[in-house]
Subunit: 180 residues, 2 copies
DNA sequence: GGGGACATGTAATTGGTTACATGATTAC
DNA sequence: GTAATCATGTAACCAATTACATGTCCCC
């Protein structure tokens, strides 16, 4: 988290609020944070000397802008090159699929199709963002968006296949639900 | 987490150690936990009345077996049908890709290929598990494994494409690295 | 004057990890 | 006899969320 915030600040001073806004339209599908995490993290980063804050008065409102220090930039670049595991732990829906033998098939099918429509929702949101971002985002930011779109497309088709397979099983009259 | 443990117990009494073992060969790529999480969770579940424990003496060793109560089974089934978001937050490598403009391209390419080989490692591990599991896992457990294999295959090909695209860009002599 | 977006923050709690501590059993 | 794995657990710590608290600005 700390490093991601440094990353956002690497293209200029921002407020905590700004960071949250930018996150929610650019990285939220693979990296998100709440205000309750962002603000304290910024203070922590300041204490560590990775960022500096500047209060800017706008009318009678005071905004707090944070900017990277050299030390902070170094820290960020160090993080950037550090290898990171492909681990993608905690996918709740899949955990449910793992235990799906305890569910009657009609309920399971309902769950799967619900999941598919949620995936499709995210997908269309990402596609809208992609259109808006085109031009004023850099190549790599577009790649990550592309990843999101490709990934959720993969998910949608995967679960559509799953639906068909389960459905085919049902028609043949397999065992369903939880007798225990 | 609590519910996943209930899920494991739904097919019979197990020790905390057993749960961890089974997890690591069946769900670890989408759901994992440490002993320091499993044991306290089991005690918590017992306090809530979702499981009961039984100490079984084996030689001079004492194993603690946990089993589901009716209340626990109900809780588990309730969880199973509750909708869960497709959110897959915190994918560190993608966050790094998002900020990759700060990296010289050769370093980025090295990172990507490193990531690809880590993905391939997970993939071959999953394929081995699939062979072992075939027959003594149920349909749905095989589906989740299949998901893992398909997902990591997707990742590998996606990043291989990315590698080629970045590489093509380099050859044309694009801007590289971080001047700041 | 009320609702929504702007803007900043704290406190309580949750959910987990890592490291530590301990001891038995098995296999070499 | 010693290393690996089996087996259980606790304490310290950490990262992050939710809920709360406060207030401004702007538009209808």
């Amino acid at each position: 988290m700390e490093e991601v915030i440094l990353g956002f600040l690497s293209s200029g001073a921002m407020t905590g609020y700004d960071i949250k806004q930018v996150m929610s339209v650019s990285t939220s599908f693979f990296y998100d944070a709440s205000y309750g995490s962002i603000y304290p993290t910024l203070k922590k980063l300041e204490k560590k000397g990775f960022v500096t804050s500047k209060e800017v008065v706008e009318g009678r409102k005071v905004k707090v802008f944070y900017s990277l220090t050299d030390k902070g930039r170094k820290e960020f670049l160090k993080w950037l090159e550090k290898p990171s595991a492909p681990a993608n732990t905690k996918y709740e829906f899949l955990a449910k699929l793992f235990f799906a033998r305890h569910l009657p098939k009609d309920r399971l099918l309902a769950m799967v199709s619900r999941h598919i429509s949620e995936i499709r929702e995210v997908l269309s949101k990402l596609q809208m963002i992609e259109k808006e971002m085109k031009n004023h985002a850099d190549t790599y930011q577009m790649y990550t968006l592309k990843f999101g779109i490709d990934f959720f497309t993969f998910l949608a088709t995967w679960y559509e296949n799953l639906f068909e397979e389960i459905n085919a099983g049902t028609e043949k009259g397999e065992e369903t639900g939880d007798g225990q």
